[in-house]
Symmetry: C3
Subunit: 400 residues, 3 copies
């Protein structure tokens, strides 16, 4: 028994380390996609958001979700092997993904400290409120869903709890902020803003892909509960996403590397109940969905979501929540025990909470401290205006 | 027992994740070595090849090697803990290394889709045919070798099965394609084409080095079977390769970082039976071999193998297969149970299958759809001609 | 029992792989911080130092520290599961951190081979001498400390044994070498030398951060001994370091990303005995300490420690050794069993050994073979003068 416990701590710790690494993936995905004058800002935002998220989740959020107060029940901190602590670490790396997702949407024009405040509030309150409903079954809502639809809302690794939540919060941020200067002109014309660095974008994507196997597989939270099917479903959805985006996106490197992520976002919810072939289909659909939704966002709807975090995490996450209710059915090769209606309700519930929480917080911040850089600062770039240094200081100093 | 099973799934999963990460290493090794106008192509090739390999190995290749058909025996998919599935995942990451290896040889001039077809055929048929002979002992060939030479052909982690196979397939691809434009002129002069980015090359090498410990150690496929000696032999061969290439390559960063890989390629086969000092020697010899063979290839034999995948994986892999039969002997500090002749025969067998399979497939593709970019496309670079975007689009758009 | 043993090998192996990865983190931290003309040198130094460290520690150092001679007791190499070997691998990755730390201080002006000799001597003799006193309790010194102060000197994961040792050795190197050309002029003016590449600096920092969880947690060296508190204390110190450096360093990306490392350096010693809130405080103080000490070093004291390895590893390591004696006390929420005086004595002991060993070796090298590049070589850059190639050869060749 003691041995099992040590193995579980090791297992969850490896998951936590892998998802921690994903945060550098978020950073490089953003570094590669934004213009060079905003690369430093991307890097500092991600590591700062991760840090304030840790404090917010440790002090407040984890207690909101799971009722564990580290300041009162302090003895359990020192308990044999400290499983309670690595579980906190693992779940924190999920919570901190919320500001990391939003960061990519609001890039190149958001003020630094107001966004730190928003991150803190999301991780302390909004995210754990919904997380607690789904994963800790707070307020008896899961039981009510089960009694109405025959099954609880199933979100194994967070298509809705993490990704849709982050993506729809990101949408509220992007809308509240408005588009970058020069992105759309008054005649309704769209001006493309090309990414700075495809290799960094791809590096970010690869780091996220590899870490995702910790995100999904270690969601079992015990070595006994590990499931090879979660791993292979994640794999199949990822390659489905790549191939879907490759074809729909006509070989574009940004689409291909985000396609892998789209598939992985979509597979989280049902990765433990779908068949690998079903997972491939779910991922491929997500890859295609990302390409079209991203293009519509940017060019038709004029939503200046820089990295496409709403299409990627918001829409593909919602698709994943619903797809779990379809491809998780035994009739489609799944393991069963899921309900389409429960998935729909849970997915919509997550979206609604994100929209309410996001607009509320961003509207308050906008009307009080302000959330957007001045035109001059934005034109100069977030790097120089916020951090007083660019991404390649030697080059800029002409000291080559 | 149940505990063991969960631990084994965890163990093999970590191996799979580490070898999955190696694919990003292949990508960055190529990004750093090719010219800037072909960096995007390198990235898209690797992730696409990985994706089509997954589909090909899932649907066909795995069945060719191990007789496991995921579409018939579908129940085992859902089996307790899904060990069968993570084992597939782990072995897939090996199979997908075949096109990743070839990719580096044919860089900067190959057409995209024909190579995707070649990758599919290699991973579905050629690779698993030989893999099955060696690791699943198909067709009774291992027994025949054992009865002739006193021991089976031993290739613990794939010096031959993976690396020599990939390297010699790469050679057929490079020869069928021909050299890059301007590489050798009609007067027999050699024109150097310098790499674009040493830090990316080194990043790729480091990612490969770290992932390799999953490649080699998790080849045990169970926690019980884990062997510290495999880890330390890999370490010793890697540092031997670095130091061999450092001296032979006169401090050149490309040689040093590829030297680590040369040592690791060579140690795979015998990493479980050699002594650490023997492994150091095998790695050092591989590092030196790589430097000289690469130089001869490029400058004397005029084989335009861009990353040197034939010297690295083909020759050092073959050396590793044979070295296992030498340094695995008890007289040289090894654990024994290996036969020099069996190693020689197995190594040659792998090479012959690669040469036949490779030339056959590339010749057919060349004479039907064509495998090479037009001169104009090659001159423009694979990035713009295939992917319609370069590695640094912002810079290229003059929007700095 | 056998199962436990296999699990332990797996556990320590993952630690070794994670700390191996940290060496690429050291490399990229240096690549990003130095000028472009010295990037290749940074990369080659790190992988070469790692390689010679492996040989030196295998042949001599490990025996100095733990009395294990791989050449005599060779049978244990082949022992069931090879736990002795992975333990060597894990501890080697710590030993090899010594030259990796020093490398960042002496960047841009040190000769290559003399530094390889220094690295060899440190890893073969100086480091394992102190390591053996603390961790193998050689010479009865720990017992003497315990009898005097009521507790042994406690350094769970190496704030002193690894980081202070490396940082103070680095200081001797930096002082013996002198400042880079043009760094300080004869009128006492300071000339800033801006870093080349913030994204590479941040990449290096992230790789180090993630690997650090292997460095600290796997220091338990058995799955049974794993402790979730070590993981969460590391996390809290890291985010404390980020936030401390963010505020003290006014949002500078270099300070923020090094702040994470400062917190992690400081938490190593007491990560198994402090409270998470204490660890946060220790990390935050380290982040602030790094910012002020780095600035004083560079601008007041004119110590041209390029990456700030003395402030980072030397001072924050010493702070960590002492802080363990404060925040490890039960009165401050810790687990207890540590003594402030023992920590002070152990910390000073480590510093003194580093200063003596470092000055001795560097003075001898300086007065015999010389340790510094010629003015011309330094001006040209270490890349071209030592490695005959720059970081972006294609660009330099004007072949864009």
């Amino acid at each position: 028994m003691e041995s099992q416990s040590g193995a579980d701590v090791f297992f969850v710790l490896m998951g936590a380390a892998m998802v921690l690494a994903m945060h550098s993936g978020f950073a490089f995905l953003e570094v590669g996609t934004v213009r060079k004058k905003n690369q430093v800002n991307a890097l500092v935002k991600i590591i700062t958001d991760f840090s304030v998220s840790t404090v917010a989740y440790f002090c407040i959020g984890y207690s909101v979700a799971y009722g564990v107060d580290f300041f009162v029940g302090s003895d359990q901190l020192m308990e044999k092997n400290g499983f309670a602590l690595v579980k906190f670490f693992f779940l924190l790396t999920f919570a901190a993904a919320i500001p990391a997702i939003i960061s990519g949407g609001i890039a190149e024009r958001a003020r630094f400290w107001p966004q730190v405040v928003a991150s803190t509030l999301f991780v302390a309150l909004v995210y754990p409120f919904f997380e607690g409903i789904v994963w800790a079954e707070n307020y008896g809502i899961q039981e009510k869903i089960a009694s109405m639809f025959g099954a609880k809302f199933h979100d194994f690794a967070g298509s809705i709890v993490v990704h849709a939540m982050g993506g729809w919060l990101g949408l509220t941020a992007v809308i509240t902020l408005g588009a970058r200067l020069g992105r759309y002109d008054k005649h309704g014309r769209v001006h493309a803003i090309p990414p700075s660095n495809i290799p960094f974008l791809a590096l970010g994507s690869w780091i996220l892909v590899v870490g995702w196997f910790g995100f999904n597989v270690m969601s079992a939270q015990s070595v006994q509960g590990i499931s090879g099917i979660v791993a292979v479903n994640s794999l199949m959805a990822m390659v489905g996403g790549v191939l879907g985006a490759l074809v729909a996106g006509k070989n574009d490197p940004g689409f291909v590397h985000n396609g892998a992520l789209a598939g992985l976002v979509a597979v989280c919810a049902g990765s433990d109940v779908m068949h690998p072939v079903g997972s491939f289909g779910v991922g491929a659909a997500a890859g295609v969905l990302f390409v079209y939704a991203f293009t519509l966002c940017q060019n038709k709807w004029k939503i200046d979501d820089v990295l496409g975090v709403w299409p990627l995490h918001g829409l593909c996450g919602a698709w994943g929540g619903i797809a779990c209710g379809i491809f998780g059915q035994k009739a489609l090769g799944g393991i069963g025990g899921v309900s389409f209606m429960a998935q729909l309700v849970g997915t919509l519930g997550g979206i609604i909470i994100a929209l309410i929480g996001g607009f509320l917080i961003y509207m308050i911040l906008k009307s009080t401290v302000g959330i957007r850089l001045s035109h001059e600062e934005e034109y100069q770039g977030a790097d120089l205006s916020i951090h007083k240094i660019g991404a390649n200081p030697e080059e800029e100093a002409g000291r080559l």
